[in-house]
Amino acid sequence: MWVSQETKDAIGTAGISAFSRDGHLYGIARDVGEVVLWYNKALFKKAGVDPESMKTWDGFTAGIKTFQDAGITPIALGGKDKWPAHFWWAKMVVRLAGETEFDKAASGEASFTDKPFVDAAQKLYDLGQMKPFQQGFEAATYGDASGMFGDGNAAMHLMGDWDYTVMKDSSADKKGFPDEDLGILPFPTVPGGAGDPTDTLGGLSGWLFSKNASDEAVKFMEWYNTDVALQQEFAAGAYYIPIAKGAADTMTNPFKQQVAEDINKAHWHALFFDQALGPDVGGVFNDMSAELAAGTISPEDAAAELQAAAEDAR
């Protein structure tokens, strides 16, 4: 597939590389998303937790204890669906391993049993041992967890930016709590991590083309995905965050603005690991994340299972 240089410039490197394999381009990126740590300001105030103190891992775990002492569920998690749990391990890998190590492990040059991955798994395991998730989280779907957060029954929810609308729709009154109580926390940093603090985790969506797609179809999508005036409409309506350069500028929703800014600044925008690693290895990553959160597997075993799946898929 051939696209013009203007399109490539408008979409940016991340968008192009996400749809390329072995030097071939298979699609045109349309929008980006980021996994963020949503938090409920009212509950933070009620428990007396300062959001600023949650920026480091030690401060974060201390904050969880404060919530528990105040009788507030610290974190909502849709464990039945497993992919929501994968965000926790993946964010930790982004922090501890960073882009270079992850790429090496994914391509087979290094192993998922290497220290940063096991350490990241250990962090999720330790977090799970503190029982920070709602009771029965292993049977809760993403929708359950999102509704719980939207109802103001959990202080935090690690979820994609799309949850802004879902948490309201899933809440009991379909409105959720007011926007002024909603905030985004930076994911806690871990000392000694190889990842850049600006690194983000999220999605990248777009249009794929079949082998028989006509040139006109490609031309149309080039225009559709990169036309600033058109994409600005979608941005203004907070439907999604367009990837086309300049299209996200008109966004008025502060949360979407922040996400767009995060991704713009990001040194590495990591694609959801369960997508980046493919259905098989990614599926094992999800399974292991859910089991780590529940404390039913050791971090070493989880990393070994992941590595075995990666070797098997090669």
Partner: protein, 316 residues
Amino acid sequence: MTQTVTTSQDITSRPAAATRPPFWRQFGDRKSWLAVLLLVSPALILFVTFVLWPLFNAFLFSFYKWNGYGPLQDFVGLENYAKVVDHRAFPLALRNTVIIAVASLLLQLPLALWVALALYQKAWFVSIFRTIFFLPYMLGEVAAGLIWKFVYDGNYGLLPTIGDALHTEMPFVLADRAWVIPAIIIVIVWKYFGFHMMIYIAGLQSIPSEVVEAARLDGVSKWKIMWFIKIPMLRSSIIISVFFAIVGSLQLFDIILPLTGGGPGNASHTLVSFLYYFGILRMKIGFGGAMSVILFILCVGVTIIYRRLLFTKAEA
């Protein structure tokens, strides 16, 4: 047909069989062959396309490492079978399937028999109860699973509401590794006992009333009539329903999916949900093929053993 299990000696010892021509001779003339072909072909075509051909393919795929796309070229022998057996979730799935099969035999069938004995005679209220008990069976599996997910929901479900009324805290059953299988068994018994009840009702209604009446005139107690007349005469119905219960348990899948998705962890996988989650969804078609062949062998094994033990005797 008894021919399937009798040896050649048996056949020759029977005078009728000895004089009968071999079966192909019976269709000796071309005309009847044509008729047979014409009448059998719709069923044969469907059977070959939707049963034999997929079966053959599953066998074939199980020897390859294949993700469902592109040519079959990565022959791995029995590796997929070893991977299935070595998988973390396989022992759990096997254990759960066996537990569910045993539970449906020991809980579901006696319950169905009991209800059938109470409801097989004709009376105006009987058909109402029959309909009520049969309704869950008519409900779609996925719908039933979703309904029970709400019943069991630890926050808003029926179960915690009952718990509140009794002033006890109910567990989050679907998130609890110890409770999840009993919870699923309750759903299965609720869902399928009506089906077995119907089989028994049909069986009970075909028992000649003279036999029961004669016993009653001889002063046989109700309990003994049930135990020594009705249940023995239900033998063929019971054999059929036991068979359905076992094979149904081996193939249990569509209730698990909406109810637990195999969770928490892998604690509630059955053999078929294991096959679906780790074979199909992960695009490991070879792995899935190996699992389905194992399942096929299990089902056929159970069927053959069961037939040898019971069906033939019942028909003799």
